[in-house]
Amino acid sequence: MIVEFLWSIVIISILGATVISLYGIARRPSLIKKLIALTILTDSANLLAIMVGYRLIYPVAPPVLPRLTEEGLKEFLATAVDPLPQALVITAVVIGMAVNILIAFAIIQIYRIYGTTDVRKIAKVIKNEGS
């Protein structure tokens, strides 16, 4: 019972972090803070994927064969976690990192040109330049 309760707390916390990061992306005016919220969103999504592959048993092992013998395989199957979400998450982590670099470069360039990362001020400057 207590294990299920703690497990639920972890899952709900991750969902909560997702909601908070969505708020940050939508409502914070600074581009830097939007980027930080985006990284939190990526990380909570990845963590959720890892949780889906986890097993609530003891002992639990990583998906790496400990011994290269046929006898070890049965024991390994009884304890190892699901490897597929981990493989997908490492893909997502690398893509997330690359996209973060691109966004960070764009933000730096915006800061150089407009002197601010506040989206409201940038919009005002662009409007003034247009008219």
């Binding site: 299920e4 497990w7 709900i12 592959g53 290269l68 699901d82 490897p83 690398v94 893509i95 691109l102």
Partner: protein, 257 residues
């Protein structure tokens, strides 16, 4: 911290605990004691089994063998993002040639420089170990390459961008290493076609053991190429990020400070 923030934090924590209590009492938490059928297939087959990738590391065998095309596309997304970043920060040739004259200042103390020299060698050794053991232990090309990219970052901070460039690690050379590694990945992926096998097929084509050492066929080749590609890609990005702000300001024609 403002009062409003503290109250909001308390409400969120209470909400989380309450909701998990409801979830537990209604017995709605997802069942996670068994591995799904697909996961079980990978666990059984990665080393033994009929569809073996000859690797005890199941995650790496999924990454570069069972779902290898996913990883190929992921690598292309990664390098498109880096190319776009480089395009955003591109410098004209004239400005790049005169930048060296602005080099000045004594730099950090000899303690920092000495430690960086020591640690850099260790980081290179550890990252190579992460990449080369990617088919045996947790790790692989991406992780090793990311660890390797810490070295240019440290050198840029402790010495300078120009010190790194004087050693020969320029942006253009990093791009060449990166492109060669990508070509290597593509060649390893296409090589099985010569034998009438599928694209990215691993096992009967590549030798599983070389000199008695387990190499898991193509997995070690992919890991090595990815290691250099990721390390060089990040080096190029860090070199551009370390370019003095004055140069960009001049290039963009920004007048205000």
């Amino acid at each position: 911290m403002k009062k409003v923030h503290a109250v909001t934090a308390c409400i969120i924590v209470l909400f989380v605990i309450l909701l998990s209590f409801v979830l537990t009492s209604l017995n709605m938490a997802p069942e996670t004691e068994e591995v799904r059928t697909l996961g079980k297939f990978f666990l059984e087959n990665s080393y033994f089994g009929d569809y073996s990738a000859m690797s005890p590391e199941v995650v790496t065998s999924i990454l570069w063998d069972y779902r290898g095309l996913d990883t190929i596309y992921e690598t292309s997304v990664f390098f498109l993002a880096i190319i776009s970043s480089l395009a955003l920060f591109r410098l004209g040739n004239t400005i790049e040639s005169e930048k060296h004259s602005e080099d000045s200042g004594p730099g950090l103390s000899f303690i920092v420089k000495g430690i960086v020299k020591l640690v850099s060698v260790m980081i290179i050794a550890v990252s190579a170990s992460i990449a080369l053991h990617g088919h045996l232990t947790p790790g692989g090309g991406f992780q090793g390459g990311s660890a390797l990219a810490v070295v240019p970052l440290l050198v840029i901070v402790a010495f300078s961008k120009f010190a790194l460039e004087d050693l020969g690690f320029t942006k253009d050379r990093a791009m060449v290493v990166r492109s060669l590694s990508l070509v290597g990945i593509a060649l390893v992926a296409l090589f099985p076609l010569l034998y009438g096998a599928y694209i990215m097929q691993n096992q009967p084509i590549f030798p599983a053991r070389i000199g008695g050492q387990l190499t898991s066929g193509s997995l070690i080749l992919y890991n090595i190429f990815e290691y250099f590609a990721v390390g060089a890609g990040f080096t190029a990005v860090f070199l551009l990020l370390a370019t003095p702000e004055k140069i960009f300001k001049k290039l963009l024609g920004v007048k205000k400070e």
